[in-house]
């Protein structure tokens, strides 16, 4: 699994490492970095990975629009059916894949997710992109990079590098989904 299911994380021992204002600040920084690297964000398309990556992509798009005064297309990319661990778990319900009207061909696609961990989700996302179109380039923006990569994948834009141990869990909460903005670091409960 790319990210930890945090249902087994006791709320009491989880400590916040990023709060609402920090999240807003790092997203603003990432937006500026995108504009700088893409030299204006002319052909940028943001694709969020459900569930929370989609909300982050929408927030980033709003910030990019403030900076560039241009409408930035946002979509979502569900990678469930491209996962390499499908046979290790019961099938999951599918989430939305929504590709902006003009498609991805020749565009700079920025994948957006909340936590970067093993890298397997991003590998699946690259496979999924392959079936949908041919972007000019693909970049990756994540809110938190917690390390422990299992594949040679690296993010282009990182909100916060968070060195963790494998016994720890990282949980991102966003207002749209969970009612508040925070990143929680907890200890995995062993049963």
């Amino acid at each position: 699994m790319d990210k930890q299911d945090t249902s087994d994380m006791g709320a009491s021992d989880a400590r916040p490492v990023l709060e609402g204002p920090d999240i807003a600040r790092v997203l603003t920084r990432i937006a500026h970095e995108i504009v700088e690297r893409a030299k204006g964000a002319d052909d940028v398309v943001l694709l969020g990975i459900p569930t929370r990556g989609v909300h982050l992509a929408q927030r980033l798009a709003a910030k990019l629009e403030e900076i560039t005064d241009r409408k930035i297309p946002v979509g979502s990319l569900d990678i469930t059916m491209y996962r390499d661990d499908l046979r290790m778990h019961p099938p999951r319900a599918l989430a939305r894949t929504e590709i902006p009207g003009d498609g991805l061909d020749g565009r700079l696609v920025v994948l957006v997710d909340d936590v970067l961990f093993s890298g397997r989700t991003i590998r699946a996302a690259l496979d999924a992109l392959n079936d949908i179109g041919r972007p000019r380039a693909v970049q990756l923006a994540v809110l938190v990079d917690r390390g422990h990569r299992e594949l040679p994948i690296r993010a282009d834009y990182v909100g916060k590098n968070l060195p963790t141990s494998l016994r720890e869990t990282v949980k991102v909460q966003l207002a749209e989904e969970d009612g508040r903005d925070t990143v929680l670091l907890g200890v995995k409960q062993t049963q």
Partner: protein, 325 residues
């Protein structure tokens, strides 16, 4: 529901809604230039057809191939079955080949149940029509078509069909489509009325969760969907009704009758249609007739069923939804 899909009656409301929602996502794949997902790569599915059915078989085959499964088509004609091999022997042969799922169409009601519960085979069994008993994926694709047309493509997600009134017209006696639809539509909260000549209503229909009427005109005005069944000429060996013309006059759907249906109501047919008898060309070719949509939706529904039964190490149906992360 267990690891198999044998009957529409086995599905709970949540199972059925999960399948319909999954199919909605699968339908998006059909709109893409590359209509293929790697989801079932390395899985082997056998389409075991003891009865001819080109339509259902190619629909399953398209769904299986879009999910990257390896597909083996088996038709009884010309096989060892015509030389007297039993279902058990066929099953054991398939088991020895390491098949992951069997899609079975059989003329005998209950054959898929037997295959799933006999211990002959370990694979998931999907019923693609057995005798006059069940055809669950047909019922699911019909419900999917109704939800799309009557509730809406996006508005329908997570919704059932509660409050919708569906009329099913024709040869209910021989129809596994009618049986499956009554079960599933009832589970999804719709009110179902069967309309048929008294000779084509099965014994014991009073125990089914639906109404029965003998007069089509009386039910049209309050129907959200009218589903016409095929009158199977090959099954009309007994005198179920006097003449085709008589049947057509009382139970056929023509332009006049369609005009009496509410504005939003749709006309459905599982196909193949016998134009001029159960449905006129005028109705069959109108915008309100969903026959062609039903075919396209059939592929999406079968992809959803295959994904939910085979996509993981255990079936998703009847399990609580797992958090995405």
């Amino acid at each position: 529901m267990q690891r198999h899909l044998i009957s529409a009656a086995d599905l709970t409301r949540d199972d059925a809604v999960l399948i319909l929602d999954t199919a909605e996502e699968m339908a998006r794949v059909a709109d893409r230039p590359i209509k293929k997902l790697p989801t079932l790569r390395g899985r082997t599915i056998v389409n075991l057809f003891f009865e001819d059915s080109t339509r259902t078989r190619i629909s399953f085959e398209a769904a299986e191939k879009r999910l990257s499964a390896d597909v083996i088509n088996f038709t009884a004609k010309g096989s060892s079955v015509s030389k007297g091999e039993s279902l058990k022997d066929t099953a054991q042969t398939l088991e020895a080949m390491g098949v992951d799922a069997v899609v079975i169409r059989h003329g005998a009601s209950g054959a898929p149940y037997r295959l799933a519960n006999s211990g002959w085979i370990d694979a998931a069994v999907i019923n693609a029509g057995d005798g006059t008993h069940q055809h669950p994926t047909q019922a699911l694709l019909d419900a999917f078509t109704m939800r799309r047309r009557l509730v809406g493509r996006d508005a329908g997600l997570g919704q059932d069909l509660s409050g919708k009134r569906i009329t099913i017209v024709g040869d209910v006696l021989h129809s596994r489509v009618a049986r499956s639809n009554v079960d599933l539509l009832h589970t999804l909260g719709a009110e179902v009325t069967l309309v048929a000549p008294p000779t084509l209503v099965p014994v014991g229909v009073e125990t089914w969760p639906c109404e029965v009427a003998y007069d089509l005109d009386g039910t049209l005005a309050k129907s959200d969907a009218v589903m016409m069944l095929r009158v199977q000429r090959e099954r009309m060996n007994a005198a179920f009704f006097p003449t085709e013309r008589e049947y057509s006059r009382r139970y056929g759907l023509d332009g006049d009758r369609m005009a009496r249906m509410p504005e939003h109501a749709i006309v459905m047919h599982p196909g193949p249609m016998v134009r001029g008898m159960e449905i006129t060309a005028e109705v069959a070719d109108s915008d309100r007739c969903t026959v062609v949509e039903q075919v396209a939706n059939g592929v999406s529904i079968r992809m959803a069923v295959l994904y939910l039964l085979l996509g993981g190490n255990e079936p998703a149906v009847s399990h609580t939804r797992i958090e995405e992360k």
